[in-house]
Symmetry: C2
């Protein structure tokens, strides 16, 4: 047995998420080589030049069948098409995983393409990222002390699950498993809704007159609050549509919360406002230390 | 004429805002001494021990009449009462200013106490702060390269305005002037609404089952987005009530924006969502560099 149990990892989509995983795996010596694959050859050439991947193949089926693990790091809307291209290759012994931010939709796509009962697909989601994107934003430390959630189904083989777990662990992440349903609900609240709120706030202010002046007088709180509004629009469109039911349910809950605050303001009810703010501060303070560290 | 044109500054409320101003003025040599005043003697003793103020007086009227400038750094809901205590002293030659986050309400309070046409009141708002509060959080650099907005009325004397301007400049800030109406509208959008949204999000998630797990899987975006939900509940209750009309108007605009996104999701309208996200990202990216630096 070689020192490296895994010979080759194929990463499809070498942006921030895929590129950072490639760098981390190379740094950890998890595999002999990382093969990049994707639509845009210039990106793949750049990824080789930056030392993010060892080599590339623009034909996804060929790249995938050379690898022990294929990690699909493309926007959720492109998952199904990429799975089809992977499926065109000889992938009997290949473990396939992904890094999408919604999991039920990816599992549906995988079931649709690879067939129900396919044991070698492991749905996954690294809870990491920055508002930047692209291969130039990739860095090996992105997953250090971050959480990765894997959402195996009853068809997922234990070997495949453990292989993907060990891959993320070697990239520095803590790996948890849960159901895809539970994952999607949690992420709707902690990630998808906040992104909608931030995009919405900036768009809302952007429609005001004197928008230049408005942003000029914005302070640190605003900068932090709206940082996620600089995220990739295509990626976030896909996330919202893929996790549509949970996101809509969360938006409804949030609307009720906002109505509560609006009515308190309307009634000049300072006690009610203070009560909400105090409860929120208490929860935020209590959990601040437990939130994934910087 | 002495090297220090200002002999004595009285700061009422020596928390993060007042304490940091005291430290900055002492560091800049703007005045010979900083007198602290406030309700709670233990806080004032602590402020002296920390070197934030030179001495203190628990009787606000007496502290104020000894000073060339009085800076009121208390929650908006306490402004009126503090103005009344200041007004009990001999304050003919004293310039009075404040650091409240809403300006029309403070000007109303000042007019009510000091009388219409009072020339020595200059309403002001340093756009700075952190989610922390209290004298132990104070630091001399808080106002470096931050903006301070002064909102003089037609009654405000030029001398008083220029004295307050020079005070903030010596603390390191850039000073702008505008109408109180305009200030309140801008801040409702860039500060007051975002705080409500953050408090609301944390409270909304806090009401879910498995709240522990929800926060456990929150990432950096969530941490930044909700940082302002750790702000002081009393201060923010007062801000929301004091700037109630503008805050409610902004909440209504925001509700329209959220409805637009909800309807797009409901209709599976990815184009519409992408359009909103792209517009927001473009605005956020364009203004990111112009937002007050860290």
């Amino acid at each position: 047995m070689s020192a490296q149990p895994v010979d080759s990892v194929c990463i499809i989509g070498t942006g921030l998420i895929g590129g950072s995983l490639a760098l981390a795996l190379k740094q950890a010596g998890f595999c002999r080589e990382v093969i990049g694959a994707g639509r845009t050859e210039t990106t793949l050439i750049q990824a080789v030049e930056l030392g993010v991947i060892d080599r590339y193949d623009t034909q996804i089926s060929r790249a995938a069948e050379q690898a022990d693990i294929v990690v699909v790091c493309v926007p959720l809307g492109a998952m199904h098409a990429v799975f089809e291209q992977i499926n065109a290759g000889e992938i009997e012994h290949t473990v396939i995983t992904d890094a999408g931010s919604a999991k039920q939709s990816v599992i549906r796509d995988a079931g649709d393409v690879f067939g129900e009962g396919f044991p070698n697909f492991v749905a996954g989601h690294p809870i990491a990222g920055t508002e930047r994107s692209g291969v130039t934003a990739a860095f090996a430390e992105l997953y250090q002390q971050r959480r990765v959630i894997l959402t195996p189904t009853e068809d997922t083989s234990t070997d495949a699950l453990e292989l993907v777990r060990s891959m993320w662990q070697s990239a520095g992440a803590e790996v948890d498993t849960m159901s895809a349903e539970h994952h999607d609900l949690i992420l709707a609240g902690t990630s998808h809704l906040p992104h909608l709120l931030a995009f919405g706030l900036v768009d809302c202010l952007n429609n005001l007159e004197d928008v230049d002046e408005i942003f000029r007088f914005a302070a640190g709180g605003f900068r932090d609050f709206t940082r996620i509004a600089s995220s990739d629009p295509v990626m976030w469109r896909d996330i919202c549509l893929s996790n549509r039911d949970d996101v809509m349910a969360m938006m409804k809950r949030y609307r009720v919360e906002m109505e509560k605050m609006y009515r308190a303001l309307e009634a000049n009810d300072g006690e009610k406002l203070k009560e909400i703010f105090e409860r929120a501060k208490k929860a935020r303070d209590a959990f601040a230390d437990r939130i994934t560290p910087k």
